[in-house]
Amino acid sequence: MLKYRLIPCLILKDDLIVQSIQFKRYLPIGKAEVAIEFFVNWDVDEIVLLDINASRKGRKPRLDLIALYAEECFVPFTVGGGISTLSDIRNVIRAGADKVSINTEAVRSPHFITEGAKTFGCQCITVSIDAKKNSSGDYEVFVNSGKESTGLHPAEWAQKVQSLGAGEILLTSIDRDGTKQGYDLDLIHMVTDAVTIPVVACGGVGTMDHFIQGIVDGGAQAVAAANIFQYTEHSTIIAKSALKKAGIPVRLSSQVKYEGFNIDEKGRLI
């Protein structure tokens, strides 16, 4: 049976992993290569790395860093940030990524999704969608690290990217990002309902229950988070254990024990 995936999302600003709060404030955490090495051995199912400064500064992806990070990443590695041409995709994959995540450029030139999928296969092309409620209370897609409005509705945009050839959607709620209030389940549900490609939910996880909600109530095929994995000890193991307890099929490594500990309501070991 196909397992639901647990994915740490590493937010890279320059060459440091940062904590992001509603795409507005960023606090430094540490080196990505260290985080990746830990995560790989802590049973995560995939790792997403988003370089949030690349598009904003008009910079290309940092291939040297990607190659360094990929060295010890023996689970699938998705890389996003600054990818706007087919040769960017080729370079990032050659540096050691398995998939790319396209966000701003997908909105600016939607045919880029199609070209990417044709050349590299749709399974290689993840379209990242950042959405929040706009001033009139409707969901809207934002690009350029949440700075630029697009007038696009997330569910409609999701359908469009699917028809253009995207293999997967990484859906992030800007409003919930860094708030620990849980996923925006309405948003996730709306998008998972609209498409038949897998959807990865992201943004807002503060407790282990939130992961369960993302799958059960949101309908996501994978649950991603950033900060909780950086700040809660043994977080990935506890998250897997919580998902397992809720009856959700997850991949459990034989190297890790998933029982015999208790966790508090915040998901910490007690």
Binding site: G96, C124, Q221
Partner: protein
């Protein structure tokens, strides 16, 4: 003498991931797109992520089809195809049209047939059921999970299928015929289980 491992670089896919995995296992590897290098190869790995037609076109443009066929089908060097690299050894594929493959294995590549509730691509970790006595899966524990990412799979003679996975129906997960090994899943991205597969393969080389 340790045999040299040659990874075929034909412009498709996650070559570095495959290389990193072998390096992690302490083996040195050559990444190459030259027929001359492949001529000298003791072990050949054909990775691949991408579209079938484009991949065959690249192999053709690089003039690699004859030398690969010579090495694998006549010299019988150990061969491992991964994902698209597995599909390419079939007769043909229906991905985005109709394309001829390398024709080393009788079979064709078809879209996964699954009820609509099964999203495609089939992305993620799935369990495989392994045929008894399959050497590639030696020493694996109960939970034989591997990472898959694909929408198409190999349709071929049941006798050469070594493992299958379930996704709205049976999906070919790996095959073996003589010196030819191939996995639809990505051992290089399947953490501990994947490393075991690669180690088992190397033991046979």
């Amino acid at each position: 003498m340790t045999r040299s491992i040659t990874i075929v670089d034909y412009g498709m896919g996650n070559l570095s991931s495959v290389k990193n995995a072998f390096v992690h296992l302490g083996r040195s590897v050559t990444l190459t797109s030259s027929a001359e290098d492949i001529k000298r190869a003791d072990v050949i790995i054909l990775p691949g992520v991408g579209a079938f037609g484009e991949a065959m076109q690249n192999l053709q443009a690089l003039n690699l089809i004859d030398i690969l066929t010579e090495k694998v089908m006549h010299e019988k060097v150990p061969f491992l195809g991964i994902c698209l690299g597995m599909q390419l050894i079939a007769d043909s594929s229906e991905e985005n049209g109709f394309f001829h493959g390398l024709k080393w294995i009788e079979g064709n590549v078809r879209k996964i047939k699954a009820p609509q509730s099964f999203r495609l691509p089939h992305i993620g970790w799935n369990n495989v059921t392994v045929k008894e006595g399959s050497i590639l899966f030696n020493d694996l524990g109960e939970d034989k999970n591997f990472y898959f990412v694909h929408s198409f799979h190999m349709n071929c003679d049941k006798d050469i299928i070594e493992s299958t996975t379930e996704y709205g129906g049976e999906v070919t997960a790996s095959i073996r015929k003589d010196n030819i090994f191939a996995t639809q899943f990505h051992p290089e991205k399947s953490h501990v289980n994947g490393m075991k597969i690669l180690q088992n393969f190397l033991r046979l080389c």
